[in-house]
């Protein structure tokens, strides 16, 4: 029984290890404590019932009951008997938790805070898994099947993280599963009997055996392959989401410069951006709004050590309706509804550019979701490529006086958006700026106004691209940067002031306007700051100098700090399309580059010709495949041509057989040639036979082979004679003093081939033409030879290395 008990404990531990991937979902480790407790108690129940020799169903029941008690104790409704025995209210409470969990999964992005409902679900799931794993492993002795419930746990983060889950939790989970398998097999071996060496010494179960070593190696290779392969295969980890999630804003430096493949790398490397000189049309927007604000794409609202990062958006399908901001109407906010339609010319992203705040979408389809928190439209299944859609949106216009009314936020979720890593320089600066300011709006404006030309802030592309604390501080010191630094720095400082802020990404409205239609190029990519005001929601602020950005605009609540008249500045840029397109060195031209990193522009480039290039690619790949398929046939026909060239020759009279008395072999150029011809013809005949699936027997003489060929392939008159002729020619070439001369071997070969193809089935014929087995066989043999040589080489190396192994000394001493 001790073996089974041990196995049960291993099963419980393995389940916990397999739950490791859940760590990427939760913010804290409370869930793990709860899971350890629950799984431990479940395992304890299993051990107890097994010790009491209760049958399998009883064990299962005991474990389920234990889990129920644990859940009741951990998530009480308050009406339990002794706080432990669940009553009807408890189950009602559980039902509520279920519902709450569904809501929470929609409302919270990863990593989620400690929510009762989510923890309840987690403990329930992991506990259920522990029961299943225990029953499968200890009860049914099928530990391999236990991988399925473990996989179920693993599938949760996989489903949440669209593109990939960090490798380390996966390795931990895999190790758990492998440990379970090993423990089971060790137990099996132990029950089977004891291992002992030839001299009768007992062998410990963990002592290495070749088989176990092979198993361990296989396991290690499997896990390594599972981790490494996705890194190698493109497309699995190159997703924008995973990049931004894992690497964050600051890290997204030069590393992602070129690999974007059509996806905009929001935080781009500046050095790369300067190399971009082309302008590409990316989006066409038609709106009935006279003076539209920026087109929003994505949001970064997480700050970590590297700077700003976005998190995986969560939300419902856009087809299920969007929340309307007008429901929370407040004085001082004007809402106006507009309609816009977007035509994507050259943009491949998982986010759909929209004007905020959309209230209804059209033609986007169920693949697109709306994240109510970040107000972005995103998709986990498709991209914006060649998409055309329209949407209704509500433009909010805030009066500064109204914004001043706003109270500091109290909501926990929003408070979380005010946290920034400590940085003394920024802290000091912000403290100075907001000193004496009463309202949130005034504080924000104080920070906003700080980024003015008077304070020495200029637009400059020649800066580092990071947004981490030190880099923000450096920017505030240098006062030169582009939209990324301005947006990030302002968001950082506003957060420092205790007000939720985030960085929004998208496009300015563009410089090329044709009536109601705005054409947006890659140079209009932009970033700005959004600040949360209680009761108003997220209000955009653009701190980047207007002069630096084409299509830049300002709002009433955040006027241009550098211009005496905000109206002027906001209208300058849109009404100066000529400047954008003409001057290469004008002040307006430079900012274009700020987002034109290679990923954006280059990626856009590949995506743009997307339609035609993809077709070309497909055609090219198909052509390549066909060419590859034709290689064997080509090889075969080349070989045949070479041999035919050898056998075709001028007719020579057949020399009489009279060679009596001559003991030497006649060697002249003609006979040598004739011999070579016969051999070539014979080789070709053998290859032809292989092609047509006539077996070859190396013990047969040419004569017998020819006879058998005639017999088996049912050759008639002409081909039969030809086969016999070929056999005779080869026979004489090999064994006679004088080879057969003047035979029409090429013609004979053609006849035989025809005869064979006549009697063969269609499939054989096809294979003989397209995939000649003779060529394949030759290649296979060559491969086999090469691998044998390689094996020999490596085993020699290994042998020479083994001499240095210390184990050898130990082994010899043991002997």
């Amino acid at each position: 029984m001790t073996g089974r008990r041990r196995l049960g404990l291993v099963a419980a531990t393995a389940t916990l290890l397999a739950a490791a991937p859940l760590s990427v979902i939760f913010d804290s480790w409370v869930w793990l404590m709860q899971c350890i407790l629950a799984v431990g108690l479940v395992a304890g129940a299993a051990v107890l019932t097994r010790t009491l020799r209760i049958p399998g169903w009883g064990q299962a029941l005991a474990m389920v009951l234990t889990l129920l008690l644990v859940l009741t104790w951990m998530f009480p409704s308050g009406d339990e008997i002794l706080g432990l025995i669940p009553g009807p209210d408890t189950f009602e409470h559980f039902g509520q938790l279920f519902g709450q969990a569904g809501e929470d999964t929609r409302n919270y992005g990863v990593p989620v805070p400690d929510r009762d409902a989510l923890q309840f679900i987690t403990v329930l799931g992991v506990g259920g898994c522990a029961i299943a794993v225990d029953l499968l492993t200890v009860g049914m002795r099928k530990p391999a099947l236990a991988g399925l419930p473990m996989l179920a746990i693993y599938s949760v983060p996989v489903a949440i993280f669209v593109d990939s889950v960090p490798a380390v939790p996966f390795i931990v989970g895999a190790i758990g599963f492998l440990w379970l398998l090993v423990a089971d097999n060790v137990d099996r071996v132990r029950r089977f009997g004891r291992r002992f060496t030839g001299d009768g010494r007992d062998v410990d179960v963990w002592e290495p055996s070749p088989l176990a070593a092979a198993g361990r190696r296989l396991a290690a290779v499997g896990v390594a392959a599972a981790v490494l392969l996705p890194l190698v295969v493109p497309g699995l980890t190159t997703g924008l989401l995973s990049r931004l999630t894992q690497v964050g804003t600051g890290g997204a430096g030069s590393g992602f410069g070129g690999g974007g493949n059509g996806r905009v790398n929001l935080f781009s490397s500046l050095s790369g951006s300067l190399t971009q000189s082309e302008t590409k049309d990316m989006i066409q927007v038609t709106t009935n709004e006279e003076d539209p604000f920026y087109l929003r794409l994505a949001v970064a609202d997480v700050v970590n050590a590297q700077g700003f990062a976005n998190r995986t958006p969560t939300g419902q399908q856009v087809t299920r309706g969007l929340p309307d901001p007008r429901q929370t109407r407040r004085p001082g906010v004007q809402f106006a509804e507009y309609k816009a339609s977007v035509k994507i010319l050259d943009l491949t992203m998982a986010f759909a550019p929209i004007y905020s705040t959309p209230v209804a979408t059209d033609e986007l389809g169920a693949a697109w979701n709306f994240d109510p928190n970040t107000q972005v439209v995103f998709s986990t299944r498709t991209t914006t490529r060649d998409k055309e859609y329209s949407f209704d949106y509500v433009r909010a216009n805030y009066r500064p006086e109204a914004l001043r009314e706003s109270q500091p936020v109290t909501d926990d979720t929003l408070r979380a958006l005010t946290t920034v890593p400590k940085d003394a320089v920024v802290e000091q600066l912000v403290a100075g700026l907001i000193k004496g300011k009463e309202t949130d709006y005034d504080k924000v404006m104080a920070i906003y106004n700080h980024f003015s030309r008077d304070n020495g802030f200029t637009y400059n592309l020649q800066t580092t691209s990071g947004t981490s604390g030190s880099e923000i501080a450096a920017f505030l010191q240098n006062k030169a940067g582009y939209c990324q630094q301005y947006a990030a720095a302002m968001a950082w400082m506003v957060r420092q002031a205790g007000i939720p802020a985030r960085v929004a990404f998208g496009f300015t409205r563009g410089g090329d306007r044709d009536g109601n239609t705005w054409t947006i190029t890659n140079r209009n990519a932009h970033a700005w700051t959004e600040v949360y005001f209680d009761g108003f929601g997220w209000v955009p602020f653009d701190a980047t100098p207007v002069s630096g950005v084409v299509g830049s605009t300002r709002s009433a609540w955040a006027p241009d700090v550098d211009a005496p008249d905000p109206v002027e500045s906001s209208s300058t840029t849109p009404t100066a399309p000529n400047a954008t397109s003409s001057g290469g060195a004008t002040d307006l031209e430079r900012p274009d580059r700020n987002f034109d990193d290679p990923a954006l522009a280059g990626g856009g480039g590949t995506g743009s010709s997307g339609g035609s290039t993809t077709a070309l690619w497909i055609v090219g790949i198909a052509a390549l495949l066909i060419a590859l398929l034709l290689v064997p046939a080509l090889r075969r026909s080349l070989t045949r041509r070479r041999r035919h060239a050898a056998t075709v020759k001028e007719l020579q009279p057949v020399t009489p057989l009279a060679a009596t008395g001559a003991t030497d072999i006649t060697v002249t150029t003609e006979t040598t040639q004739a011999r070579a011809d016969a051999h070539a013809a014979w080789d070709e005949l053998i290859d032809t036979m292989i092609d047509y699936r006539v077996p070859i027997d190396p013990t047969e003489t040419p004569r017998v082979t020819a006879q058998r060929l005639v017999r088996e392939a049912e050759l008639e008159s002409q081909p039969a004679e030809s086969a016999t002729l070929l056999g005779r020619a080869e026979e004489r070439a090999r064994y006679a003093r004088r080879p057969l001369q003047g035979g029409e071997l090429t013609e004979a070969l053609t006849h035989v081939r025809k005869g064979l193809s006549r009697s063969a089935t269609r499939r054989t014929r096809l294979v003989a033409t397209l995939m000649p087995p003779s060529v394949m066989l030759r290649w296979r043999l060559a491969t086999g030879d090469a691998s044998a040589v390689a094996m020999g080489f490596f085993s020699r190396i290994r042998e020479s290395l083994v001499r240095f192994s210390p184990r050898r000394l130990l082994a010899s001493r043991a002997r």
Binding site: L657, A659, T660, I665, H679, P695, P698, R737
Partner: protein
């Protein structure tokens, strides 16, 4: 006319001439032995290969008749020895008898002093008598009382033996068996040939009507022709490979001797010449492997217990030994893998 020697039996002849002569001999023999073309040809081939023939079969299938027909067809000295248990070596080799008139010992040649020696029921003689043939068969000479007497070419021993009857017989020792180039079995005639035999033999023995169609000189020339037949390197390699395979086969305790290699190639040359070729084919070797090699080898006890005849073992070796090539080529082998990897012979040639 010069005295024929073993090294130079006579001038070779053209292949056409050769064919006419040999076909005449075979046709002559087939007057007596009907429906046994292959056997007759093999017997003739053994003679032309300067070998000795062992005919082994059940009684009454015409062993002695074949031997006598072959002897009668050639106009040369023929002696017949009926091997009996009380036969003495001196009866075979000859004996020195004291001549009273000359007061000296005079050598009386034994039965072996002939071109063709027919030894009937050879296994009925005691080993002592059988071994009297050892010297003459291999060295073509007889040594009696310290004096060596050369035998004249052609010299051929045709022995018959009965494999069924064990009582009162002495199986041939290995050394003796090895001296026979080929062992052939007569086999039962087909019904048609048997019917013809009934019709013919009922009235008169065809053996009596048989006339010689060749003489010793002609046989010597035939032998010279056979010697000139070309055996390519590849063929010789194949012969060696075959013989080597018998030595290495797990079922065989004693393989074939180097002498057998020589005789195999010689016989193959004779067969090739009989077929009108001036070169030996591996086909010839394959066809001759059983008659030439099977009687020399000794199977292991296991193989004997499994009722594996030496014929079957040799046939199997022939069947699985790849043909050597005198040039490198891809070793296509579409048969099931496994069995022909074991031999050490380089199947790809040199």
């Amino acid at each position: 006319m010069t005295t024929p020697t073993w090294d130079e039996p006579g001038g070779p002849m053209q292949l056409d001439e050769f064919r006419v002569a040999t076909e005449a001999i075979m046709a002559n023999i087939e007057h007596v032995i009907e429906g046994k073309h292959a056997t007759v040809r093999l017997a003739l081939a053994v003679m032309l290969a300067e070998g000795h023939l062992l005919i082994e079969d059940v009684p009454g299938v015409g062993k002695t008749k074949l031997a006598k027909a072959l002897a009668r067809s050639i106009d040369c000295s023929v002696r017949r020895i009926q091997f009996t248990p009380d036969l003495l070596p001196s009866d075979v080799t000859g004996v020195s008898v004291y001549n009273q008139e000359q007061r000296d010992f005079e050598f009386k040649p034994g039965a072996v002093f002939a071109n063709l020696v027919v030894g009937d029921e050879i296994n009925r003689a005691s080993p002592k008598t059988q071994s009297a043939l050892l010297e003459c068969m291999e060295e073509r000479q007889v040594t009696v009382d310290g004096t060596t007497y050369e035998l004249q070419p052609p010299f051929m021993v045709i022995a018959t033996q009965n494999p069924i009857e064990m009582e009162g017989t002495y199986p041939l020792p290995e050394a003796q068996r090895d001296r026979f180039t080929a062992r052939i079995a007569m086999g039962y005639p087909d019904p048609r040939a048997e019917l013809a035999m009934l019709g013919g033999h009922g009235a008169v023995d065809p053996l009596n009507a048989l006339r010689a169609v060749a003489d010793a000189a002609m046989v010597r020339r035939l032998i010279a022709t056979v010697r000139a037949v070309h055996a390519a390197d590849a063929v010789q390699q194949y012969a060696i490979a075959l013989v080597t395979a018998t030595r290495e086969a797990p079922e065989i305790r004693l393989g074939a001797s180097p002498r057998s290699t020589l005789q195999l190639v010689r016989t193959a040359k004779a067969v090739a010449a009989l077929e009108g070729r001036d070169y030996v084919l591996p086909d010839d070797l394959q066809a001759l492997a059983v008659p030439v090699l099977a009687h020399r080898i000794i199977p292991t006890t296991d193989a004997q217990l499994n009722r594996r005849t030496t014929d079957a073992i040799v046939a199997e070796i022939v069947h699985r030994l790849p043909l050597p090539h005198d040039r490198a080529r891809s070793p296509y082998d579409t048969r099931q893998a496994g069995d022909n990897r074991g031999n050490t012979y380089d199947t790809r040639g040199r």
